[in-house]
Symmetry: C2
């Protein structure tokens, strides 16, 4: 494939089509403020996947699923036995999420298929677009279940007993969705693609602040997630002297206060978040018998992440008074470095197409993290307004989406010829 063909396919990226599709997906689970609440493995998720399949099929792709419910859209190559070049992201959202996180990467892959169809471009290698299952981890924690299962980092069966807020098991929700999509061919989990490139919004403020159109991602900081259960004893709020209480709520406050000290970082690089709390019996006039809360800890340096993460449990145990604690690590993603070949290909495409660009690391984790051990991997970021993400106010402009998708198309086509 020559430079002219690549340039033609990049030019065929249709800004209006991509934006109207973004809006169509945004209507599936729309919430106040232009946000989206579309959890994985729900009827809304299935509706969004059917819409994606319809548009991908119109562009000549064939849909299939694997047993982790990852959705695959394959456009044949000239030599269809070669390893495909893979792109994609995820379609699930946070409970109060935006229209762009994850969805943009899938839409960019769909736009690639449409641009290839419009220009009747035949790639040497097959092109595949994937929508990974449960990246967010907000209905069933942890996130990235689909990419972890596909890459072999975790067996899909190991997530079976995890339940959502309503007590629904992951394996039941998965089986329901697999049954609803039993008309789609089933393909095996796991294979080695030629390369993987994921487009995504930055979810941070850097590109916008620097006035740059394209972020070339060098790697992803590591994450460690923990679930903590503080166990006390329920008692009457009016009659029980404080000295005799085993108050799980006060235990949580003691634990979080100590963790704030543990995670102090003058450089403000370490990220420590307690985002989820649930209380039993959760009655205003009963002392709490149990408080469960989540810890999300991230850092780009594996040594720092190991040291602070390993200290989480002893810090909690030494902070709490009159209560007990169980601390379980639920998710670990080591810091990941992307392939220099993919990084330089993205850079070459952005540069030759005249887009401003810079290299940066990702603060959020992504499915790409789990593809790193399997094949050369990279990511393309576009600016996020004010860095806002996991929020209805998440925003990138139609022009910013187009720029990112053009760079994705150029990168995928170069990789498909290599």
């Amino acid at each position: 494939m020559d430079e002219a063909e690549i340039a033609a396919a990049m030019a065929a990226v249709d800004q209006e089509r991509q934006w109207s599709r973004l809006e169509a997906f945004g209507r599936l689970g729309a919430i106040a403020g232009n946000g989206v609440n579309r959890a994985c493995l729900t009827p809304l998720d299935r509706e969004a996947r059917r819409l994606l399949i319809r548009w991908a099929e119109e562009a000549g792709a064939v849909a299939s699923i694997d047993k982790a419910n990852n959705l695959w859209l394959r456009r044949p190559g000239q030599n269809d036995t070669l390893a495909p070049v893979l792109t994609g992201s995820h379609m699930d959202t946070q409970p109060a999420g935006g229209r762009f996180d994850g969805m943009y990467g899938v839409l960019a892959g769909l736009e690639l298929l449409s641009a290839l169809a419009d220009t009747k471009t035949v790639t040497q290698r097959p092109i595949e677009v994937v929508a990974w299952t449960n990246e967010e981890g907000s209905r069933f924690a942890p996130g990235c279940m689909g990419s972890m299962a596909w890459s072999g980092a975790r067996a899909i069966e190991s997530f079976a007993a995890i339940t959502d807020h309503n007590g629904i098991r992951f394996d039941d929700a998965l089986a329901e969705q697999m049954a609803a999509e039993s008309d789609l061919p089933l393909r095996p989990l796991g294979y080695v693609p030629h390369a993987y490139v994921e487009a995504h919004i930055e979810q941070g403020p850097l590109l916008e602040a620097e006035g740059v159109e394209i972020g070339i991602v060098t790697g992803i900081q590591g994450s460690r997630w923990f679930n903590v259960i503080i166990k006390g004893e329920s008692a009457h709020a009016g009659t029980t002297p404080l000295a005799l209480r085993r108050d799980a709520m006060q235990g949580m406050v003691q634990a979080v206060t100590a963790l704030n000290r543990l995670t102090e970082d003058p450089d403000d690089v370490l990220r420590f978040t307690v985002g989820r709390v649930s209380v039993l019996p959760n009655s205003s006039n009963s002392v709490a018998s149990e408080v469960r809360f989540s810890i999300d800890l991230r850092h780009p340096d594996a040594a720092v992440l190991t040291a602070r993460g390993d200290a989480v449990r002893p810090t909690i145990l030494s902070a709490i008074r009159h209560v007990e604690a169980e601390v379980e690590e639920s998710f670990t993603a080591a810091p990941a470095a992307f392939a220099t070949d993919v990084i330089s290909t993205i850079e070459t495409v952005a540069e030759s197409a005249g887009f401003s660009h810079l290299r940066l690391a990702s603060g959020a984790f992504h499915d790409a993290q789990f593809v790193v051990p399997i094949c050369p991997t990279g990511m393309i970021f576009i600016p996020s307004h004010k860095g806002i993400s996991h929020n209805p106010a998440e925003y990138s402009s139609p022009e910013q989406l187009t720029a990112g998708t053009r760079v994705l198309v150029g990168t995928m086509l170069r990789l498909s010829s290599s």
Copy 2:
């Protein structure tokens, strides 16, 4: 009525009958560990009320309800135009409650009706037993809605828009139950009884520790409840530097830490409890945009309660960083002193029947608090094992229940002749 008649009615209290009825009510909403979860204005509540009505009617009482859904069981007196002597309590429970809190006071009233029927005793004044609506306040906060509405402390309509955890409005739940009980006569809210006596478990450790059978309650400490909303901004847990966050969860930890200092009390008399917390979006990898929590503050001294309670709002506002707070007082009950006549009547009955007794104040609030301004009021406590309450492990023995009910019968009969 002479002493012999009173003694005969007290002796007619049937320990086995009362205990088997306690067990029958305990099966309606039974939870693990011998506990009960029976929220007000639910099908389970209606089932329990029907059971109470059946047994009360067998003892010659007539059932009616008022527009706050308080349930009234009236046994006519020799002179039925005289103001009745009233006893009762509530039948709703905490979400993880026990079999005794509230239910015992209603059962003791029922046993009074049965003992009068068995001994064919005719009282001078009518005897009434009441089951007040929503004392616990755990489904719809605040508690004591029924007794507040009856006594005129609050209009029942003022609670209309309060919602439970599932978003169901109080007025809708009330209307549903009123419709289900439309076969019962409706009586007006409010009138002046001759006296009110409520039997209850102590919900504290004192009587058991002192080896005493009967607690003669001198009054009830005051309560102030607050609802706090901490408002921050949701953000991505991986990408947002801590310095840029408006983390509502950290705001709650700051507020509770400051409130712990505000409520320090070397004498351990002040009670401060944060029992309920809810978080938005409640996702482990999103910074919390909103945290709502409850404050329950109690003290027997009105001056202390006023000073510390009035400081709650400014303490929170000066403690929080980068977030905002709304603080609303949802419930206030001033410390209440019981009538000396009722106190001395209970004491005389307990003493002459040979029960050990002591005077004490109540740490928990009770419907009796709202009856104090209306008529002479008192309470009879029986021991609570280890002081445990609002917990499935709540326990008082059949013998302890019987002793309390005998003292209630003697007290009610003396008051009915006065």
